[in-house]
């Protein structure tokens, strides 16, 4: 059942001028910030707690809880994570390009609630248009009194800097992001002790929140946390922006009430994914970005719910769903995803740096016809050395979870499609050659 919950973060997206201050103000822009300043810090935090807003960056940690963990110090920072590079994820891209003021307003509300005087939006470098629009919006926001000294006449002041990334997936990982923001190579830090809330940017306590997470804040403040929590079920409240891609007729983004909609709805409903191409059937789908283990048709009726997906052995992650129909060579799909992780490994940890490349080579050899039967066990054992147990949630031999994300697609392919892989060995190459 697809609910008719009103869009929260994409309400303005249909309008051509949604990225301008004028267009933003005409549609209730900065009302949330004004309201927040009236409510006061504590009340804003209470609303966010009541909303049970889960982080939208991938880990799904409750925003209110994260805020409460911010260490006390003279200087603290807020960093908005707009690095969005998880393959098949394109929601933050939409938000920074189409509604940059909403990101700024959300960040300002968060900074106000946290008592932070300096915030950064780390925007993926490849979003050139997004960077232009964010920068223009920042200029406008300062002029409008929504940023800078004494915001809207209050005693709250905030500086916000748009920081361009430069092309490295790992910088989406929050500690790598902070290193990058400090002008360094994007090497994730070891947690503990480097939990951003304790030791973050320049060693100061720092909150890192995703673009979509903060984009929800103006609405939550305006309508109250309870109204947000009334949407969805359990801890999965509000709406969420899902990115649908791959073998569906209508790839695109859909803002949907959480939990209420199933994967089947998302993929097949004519108002959403619109189903597969004529004559095709579903082979597998990835429920939450390429770091997530795959699902098969039997999981189609799961709701888009963080807990439910977690219990079923995968994750909702960044909210991106990739559909693979029966024309897909799963080996090739696993290889392409592995190649991604190999290319994007920061290179610190040996298992990730070397393991990714090795696994990619084995998969390519299998795809090209040089496979041996024992390669499947070898694949699984090498995966086990990166993520002991090869289970979900993964254990790890690495600093960050990029490493243990590598096995997801490989283990999915081996476990779900062992016969197809063995066919590659037997037939000396891909039985679906020519398939996409």
């Amino acid at each position: 059942m697809i609910t008719d919950a009103a869009p929260i973060v994409t309400a303005r997206v249909g309008h051509d001028d949604s990225h301008t201050l004028e267009g933003y103000l005409a549609t209730g822009g900065y009302e949330g910030l004004r309201r927040a300043l009236e409510l006061g810090r504590d009340q804003v935090r209470a609303e966010v707690d009541a909303a049970s807003l889960l982080g939208r960056g991938g880990a799904g940690f409750p925003a209110g809880r994260k805020w409460s963990m911010l260490g006390r110090a003279d200087v603290t920072y807020l960093v908005v994570n707009g690095d969005e590079s998880e393959p098949a994820t394109f929601k933050d891209h939409l938000l920074v390009e189409r509604d940059p003021h909403q990101v700024i307003e959300g960040a300002t509300i968060a900074a106000y609630a946290l008592g932070v005087a300096q915030a950064f939006v780390f925007c993926r470098g490849e979003f050139a248009l997004g960077l232009e629009r964010l920068t223009a919006a920042v200029n406008e926001a300062y002029a409008h009194g929504a940023l800078g000294r004494s915001i809207f006449g209050s005693d709250f002041s905030l500086d916000l800097v748009i920081h361009p990334g430069a092309g490295a997936y790992i910088c989406g990982e929050e500690t790598a992001l902070l290193e990058s923001l400090e002008g360094k190579r994007g090497f994730p830090r070891i947690k503990p002790p480097y939990f951003p809330a304790a030791i973050g940017l320049y060693g100061a306590p720092t909150v890192v929140n995703n673009v979509e997470t903060v984009s929800n804040l103006p609405w939550i403040v305006r309508h109250g946390g309870a109204a947000f929590a009334a949407l969805g079920t359990g801890s999965s409240t509000g709406t969420r922006l899902f990115a649908l891609s791959g073998h569906v007729r209508r790839p695109g983004w859909y803002e949907l009430e959480m939990s209420k909609v199933t994967f089947r709805d998302l993929i097949f409903d004519p108002s959403l994914g619109g189903g597969l191409a004529e004559g095709r059937s579903l082979k597998a789908f990835i429920p939450g970005g390429v770091s997530a283990p795959w699902f098969g048709p039997e999981q189609l009726d799961l709701g888009l719910d963080q807990e439910a997906v977690g219990k079923a052995g995968s994750m909702l992650g960044s909210g991106s769903v990739v559909v693979m129909d029966d024309s897909t060579c799963v080996l090739r799909a696993a290889w392409r995803i592995t190649r991604f992780f190999h290319r994007e490994s920061c290179g610190q940890c040996t298992p990730c740096r070397e393991g990714g490349g090795w696994l990619e080579k084995i998969l390519r050899r299998l795809e090209e016809g040089g496979g041996r039967e024992e390669d499947l066990d070898l694949l699984m054992d090498a995966c086990d050395n990166i993520a002991p147990g090869v289970s979900w949630p993964p254990q790890q031999t690495t600093i960050c979870v990029l490493g243990p994300s590598i096995p997801s697609s490989i283990a999915s392919a081996v476990r779900m499609f062992r016969d197809e892989l063995l066919l590659h060995v037997k037939e000396g190459g891909c039985p679906l050659r020519g398939a996409r």
Binding site: T350, R353, R365, P388
Partner: protein, 903 residues
């Protein structure tokens, strides 16, 4: 033997473990804050590792050291090099899960690591190779193609990089950034494409580059001088001390087929903590070049070889004639290249047989011996843990590189406060030390302003606010201790050869008077200059920090008659020689023609003296001008002890045989005494060393036997009673179990104490070995009294005041004779403020004429914003035969003012 004095301190006082953890089922007490890998190692459990280095911050990236550690949510795999011990923690280093993880990491490392061990310098001492055997799965499952990169790149004249072999442990890049403070190499690219890289136009020209080679766990970084020189299994080694400068880093000297091939830094906790500078590391090459290999006699323009008996007869004849002519007809210069035993033997020979107190180990380029020996001495450890370090010395990076490293690390990493007093900004102020300037000649005035009670007056060359800040820093630090100044350490040297030493002696005396609790680290740089002074190779000073008069009774009872009058220092001695007042000048490895700040005086002196006898290891300018040359053994060719700038005495050990018929200098002294019908009282190193321990008051409790014990491998700081003993780590210590597995420092310093051939010569058995001096031990020299600082002449408007500093690589014998180092010497330039060049209409790099009281030299001009407008800065010992160096402008005493002209 003062057993109690050295033994007592024991290891127990050092540690107070308070955290209890369980490692592999065994309860272990660990120090709070200690890393799990360290606690495990002390408990005898070796966890494999690559990126971890005990002298750098942990990064936990290679993942080789993964172990299972208990936490709130049960056991998980954690890097033991990164996690610190916690009470009640349980660690499993070899559970099935931990072993699988470790084996997995090793297998991953070999994915891209070439198997070119047979042609790799590291083959045979490679932890990857070793661990692949002990921790790795038996056979390879890797059948894919490895990554390929172009073969080795020369990233500096001394270091080659083979990117294929790199395992991305970041030890080298972290060393460059964290320890040396020069990030000239960094990781480039990402993932498995990561490579160590320099910036294309800037080679890895660091004084410390060799350390990266030493700590590279694989053969990715190799040293140009060692490439393909030997295989690990052909190496023989001995633990000894580097005598390239006065820091005295502990090293392992390795030889192959009788030739020195490599030095490795030993992790001596109080001294070099495993680091070396490149000059020390590669300076052993000098042993092989330009050596004096047999006794020689001047013949025409050159020398002819003669046999030892003949040489001894001729030298003894000349000396005997001079000694017979009266007291003080012989001068002895040098000694900084000798061992302590050599120096003692020569000090005794000079006083008792040659009847002269004209002995000086310094060449008018250091500080008065009384200042060096009399001030309360600090250790390096005291300096890095001080409330405040004040430097009043040459640029330590150029002069005493590893002392610089230790201070820099303390400054940059641990927040050590450093006040640099310098005429020209030095490396420490570039790293964040507070700096106050002064015009050469005004150092005592500066110190007066910093320590005086009155409002400080104007100090030429210092800006007022700088003086006020420095004064405040000093006052704050000085007030902290029980005695005023306690916790302040002054590094005192001779930064400028064109400025009188007396200014620094005055400055030191003022500091001592104002801050009686402050301690001093004398920053004299020559190899064993401190040992030479300690052994009495200075006028008016007897072995063991004793004044000639104070020690007369004691020493006459031990040695026999002493000269009546205090002798002359190097400058006056050479002036006397030039005036024909000297019959024989003995050069003990000294090269005044090249090294005296006033080379013209040296030339006149050598011409004016009756005969010059050189006890020399190398053919240098002065030994080449000597009438008689006796070949001396060089470093690594003889055993004994050496003393560093802390007063720390350590063993030096013989590794190779000297060339030809060269002898250790002490045996030459013994033989000459015998030839002259005298007996020095010892004829082997044991008895010589025992005599020093017995006679020289500062050396009580210190002899070669004591120093040879495992607990004392890091040496003993003299005098023992005053400083107390720091007992080194126990048990065999590995240099770096990862970069050089299997290379443990030697347990006992088993190298023979006496060079085989040399013992056989002339001397009588030491009949008096058991006899000792009588009476009460003379007191050690105390701090010299302070005097009113002299005022320097004013600088006129057309002149620049000269600063003659030093550089690590100069034209001195050691660098000149090291093929790897010689090409690294910089060009001689004169650095001035850009406005000076503008005024002259000279462009950066063009030659100018520098004229001073002692003459004129032509040098390339170099514009430098950091140089004050009234200074001209040049470096000593960079001149060549055709192009005299800046030191030829140095004449007489007092600061030197020069003028610059276009040519």
């Amino acid at each position: 033997m003062s057993e109690t004095a050295v033994g007592g301190a024991g290891a127990s006082a050092e540690e107070a473990p308070t955290v209890s953890v369980t490692i592999d089922g065994v309860a272990v007490s660990a120090r709070p804050g200690e890393l799990v890998i360290e606690a495990a190692e002390r408990a005898g459990v070796f966890v494999p590792r690559f990126c971890y280095h005990p002298r750098m911050d942990p990064v936990g990236v290679c993942r080789m050291c993964l172990v299972e550690i208990s936490g709130p949510r049960g056991f998980s795999l954690q890097p033991s090099c990164y996690v610190r011990v916690a009470d009640g923690q349980e660690v499993r280093t070899s559970s099935e899960k931990a072993r699988k993880a470790q084996e997995g990491v090793l297998e991953f490392l070999l994915v891209n690591h070439p198997l070119d061990c047979p042609v790799c310098d590291k083959g045979g001492e490679c932890p990857l190779q070793d661990q692949a055997l002990t921790h790795g799965p038996g056979d390879t499952r890797f059948v894919e193609e490895k990554r390929h990169w172009a073969k080795p790149i020369e990233i500096s004249p001394l270091v080659y990089l083979d990117r294929e072999r790199c395992i991305q442990c970041s030890r080298c890049t972290r060393f460059a950034d964290e320890v040396a403070g020069e990030a000239l190499i960094d990781f480039a690219f990402r993932g498995d494409a990561i490579e160590v890289a320099t910036f294309p136009s800037r080679p890895f020209s660091s004084y410390f580059s060799g350390n990266t080679v030493q700590i590279c766990p694989v053969g990715a970084l190799t040293a140009a001088p060692y490439r393909f020189a030997s295989r690990p299994w052909d190496l023989e080694q001995v633990e000894t001390t580097c005598t390239s400068c006065a820091v005295g880093c502990r090293i392992v000297a390795q030889s192959s087929a009788g030739k020195l091939v490599r030095y490795l830094g030993v992790d001596a906790d109080p001294v070099n903590q495993s680091w070396l500078c490149d000059r020390g590391r590669y300076g052993f090459e000098a042993n092989g070049e330009g050596r004096v290999s047999s006794p020689s006699r001047r013949k025409g323009e050159g020398h002819e070889a003669i046999r030892w008996p003949e040489a001894l007869r001729q030298v003894a004849g000349a000396l005997q004639a001079a000694a017979a002519a009266g007291e003080g007809r012989v001068g002895v210069l040098g000694g900084a290249r000798l061992t302590n035993e050599d120096a003692y033997a020569w000090a005794k020979l000079a006083r008792t047989v040659l009847r002269t107190d004209h002995v000086d180990a310094q060449l008018d380029d250091g500080l008065p011996a009384a200042t060096v020996l009399g001030l309360p001495r600090a250790t390096i450890d005291e300096a890095v843990h001080a409330r405040l370090v004040v430097t009043l010395a040459g640029d330590l990076r150029e002069e005493l590189p590893v002392l610089y490293l230790r201070l820099r690390r303390a400054l940059a990493h641990d927040g050590l406060a450093v006040l640099e007093c310098s005429s020209v900004p030095q490396a420490l102020s570039a790293e964040g030390a507070t700096r106050v300037g002064y015009l050469p000649g005004e150092v005592a005035r500066l110190v007066g302003a910093l320590t005086g009670d009155a409002e400080p007056g104007e100090v030429p060359g210092a800006d007022r606010s700088g003086v006020v800040t420095a004064r405040r820093m000093l006052a704050a630090a000085a007030a902290g201790g029980a005695t005023r100044g306690e916790g302040v350490v002054v590094v005192l040297g001779r930064p400028n050869l064109a400025e009188p030493a007396v200014g620094y002696a005055e400055a030191a005396a003022l500091l001592h008077a104002a801050l009686p609790g402050a301690r001093f680290l004398p920053a004299l740089r020559r190899g064993n200059v401190h040992g030479a002074l300690e052994m009495g190779l200075a006028p008016g000073v007897l072995p063991g920090r004793v004044g000639l008069e104070e020690g007369r009774a004691w020493y006459e009872s031990a040695w026999g008659n002493l000269p009546g009058a205090t002798g002359r220092g190097a400058r006056e001695l050479l002036e006397a020689a030039a005036a024909g007042e000297l019959d024989v000048l003995v050069l003990l490895g000294a090269d005044p023609l090249a090294d005296l700040p006033d080379p013209d005086l040296a030339r006149r002196a050598l011409e004016g003296v009756g005969s010059v006898v050189a006890v020399a290891s190398h053919w240098d300018a002065s030994s080449s001008a000597a009438q008689l040359v006796l070949p001396a053994a060089a470093a690594d060719e003889r055993s004994g002890s050496t003393t560093n700038l802390e007063g720390r005495v350590t063993r030096v050990a013989q590794k190779v045989v000297p060339p030809g018929t060269a002898w250790p200098a002490w045996t030459i002294a013994v033989a000459l005494a015998a030839e002259m019908g005298d007996d020095l009282g010892f004829d082997n190193l044991e008895t010589l060393s025992a005599e020093i321990e017995r006679v020289a008051p500062s050396q009580r409790g210190i002899d070669l036997d004591v120093l040879g014990r495992p607990a004392h491998r890091d040496g003993l700081v003299a005098p023992i009673a005053a400083v107390g003993v720091r007992v080194g780590r126990r048990g065999p210590r590995l240099i770096d179990p990862i970069a050089t597995p299997g290379i443990a420092s030697v347990e006992e310093q088993g190298a023979p104490l006496v060079v085989g051939d040399a013992v056989a010569l002339g001397g009588q058995p030491a009949g008096i070995a058991g006899a000792g001096p009588t009476g009460s031990r003379p007191p050690l020299l105390g701090p010299p009294a302070s005097s009113v600082p002299a005022t320097a002449p004013r600088l006129d408007a057309y002149s620049l005041r000269l600063v003659v500093g030093r550089t690590l690589y100069d034209r001195g014998t050691l660098v000149a004779a090291s093929p790897s180092l010689a090409p690294l010497r910089p060009e001689a330039t004169v650095r001035v403020h850009p406005s000076v060049l503008e005024r002259l209409g000279v462009r950066d790099g063009e030659p100018v004429r520098v004229t001073g009281p002692g003459g004129a030299v032509e040098l390339a001009a170099s514009a430098d914003e950091a140089v004050a407008r009234d200074l001209a800065v040049a470096t000593a010992r960079l001149g060549t035969g055709e192009r005299p160096g800046i030191e030829s402008l140095v004449a007489g005493e007092g600061p030197i003012d020069v003028r610059l002209e276009t040519i």
